[in-house]
Symmetry: C2
Subunit: 260 residues, 2 copies
């Protein structure tokens, strides 16, 4: 199994604290040692860091941990290879462009027979079931909405429906973003927390690291973090149920979609 | 004007030496201070580093300079903004997927009226003329070759023809790759050099830095570097003429296309 980490914030925020916890699971406190990746949105722009090596001893992961990159949406993944060999092209997150926006995707789980699903517009570069699933979602979105719809609610619905369809083929926990929204779909496990004023201290489970968010933030900041498992042990995280999709915009929960 | 740097090699090679020269031009020995980016291919996989800040004082550029990332195709760019504001989404190189391959593109020059060219499949995320030109090239390639052609020679021809068309609208020096080939088209300036055994010493123009390639390489290595201006002052670089396109594969010049 892999680990997912996402963030949505109303002001450009760094994810050093949460990433510090996650990267320990990449071969140290966890066995997810087959690569890691992180995508940062800065407005419409996107930057990504990836390595097909364990995150806990990666030079690049160290840079990401120590150098505060401020972003309003982040998606990160550390990998335990199940389908597809260990190499850069199989490392999450994956990115494609639709409607002049970069879409990013990371997945935890396995999907049986996913490669039988026909693709028309987007094709995988690597050999993972995850990238195939992502290309299929993007294909379906593009077929249904050749142009960006005015009312984005129909996009939420479509994404939830596609995720439900994929869940029927195995395990499909995923994080996805179009640069503005953070879409999070739970098949077996995903937990989230929204931090806002009054801020308190938080202690990482995976590293000897405590942070006093009051010192790091302003009273107006709203920051949501979502992960496969809670990253701190002194805060209350919300656990998603199977089939739930939550949408965060600027750090705030804006929509919850449940299975029918 | 911006600066371009590309590399093609038959074995995974780091570009630290050439990049050290280029990054000095990003706000120190040159005035290209509006961001920089570099894309490394590792087989089919791609990793990119970008910053909308001057490269000579970028933390991330320092990592790229000091941490040898081994790659067989590299495309890099430092930017002096002419069209489009300074932000991450306007930072080269740009990437899109076609035929299950990542295509990367960086451009030096300006193109008048480029945004009047209609796009169908690929759309720019930022506001530069360069990204629009790239999306148009990808669109045209996709229209002509919905599937990857068996004989790639027709792709070379098409890319040269499209580049010629763009040159009629302004200045179009560009580097492009599909992960295997390095395509380099010259509108006003591009120079290249192939280094192979017997290797000699090289001295950077822009930094106090000499390298003895014999110590850094094996006798079978073939490495081509291409740049807007020669990066060393004690070696003989080949200067491309206006309208020339050269294709490098595994470090070797495999095709030259000239204007009709």
């Amino acid at each position: 199994m892999c680990e997912l980490l996402g963030m949505s914030a109303n002001v450009p925020t760094d994810i050093c604290f949460s990433f510090a916890g996650l990267m320990q699971r990449g071969g140290k406190t966890g066995n997810h040692s087959d690569g890691w990746g992180i995508a940062f949105y800065e407005k419409r722009g996107l930057r990504e860091f990836k390595d097909p090596f364990p995150s806990y001893r990666s030079e690049i992961a160290r840079l990401v941990r120590n150098y505060p990159i401020k972003s309003h949406v982040v998606i990160s993944h550390i990998r335990k290879a199940n389908a597809g060999k260990v190499c850069l092209e199989n490392t999450h997150p994956f990115t494609r462009e639709l409607w002049g926006q970069y879409w990013t995707f990371a997945h935890n789980g396995q999907l049986k027979g996913i490669k039988k699903r026909t693709l028309r517009h987007y094709f995988p570069v690597g050999s993972t079931d995850s990238e195939h699933a992502f290309c299929w979602i993007m294909d379906q979105l593009r077929e249904k909405f050749p142009n960006k719809p005015r009312h984005y609610g129909s996009v939420y619905q479509q994404l939830h429906q596609l995720s439900e369809e994929l869940r029927s083929q195995g395990v499909f926990n995923m994080l996805m973003s179009d640069s503005r929204h953070l879409f999070s779909y739970c098949s077996t496990k995903l937990s989230w927390i929204t931090r806002k004023a009054p801020f308190e201290k938080a202690t990482l489970k995976d590293d000897e690291f405590t942070i006093d968010f009051e010192k790091e933030t302003t009273p107006d900041d709203i920051v949501t973090v979502i992960a496969t498992e809670p990253l701190t042990d002194n805060e209350q995280w919300h656990k998603l149920a199977a089939g739930d999709m939550v949408v965060f915009t600027k750090g705030t929960l804006t929509k919850t979609l449940r299975p029918r």
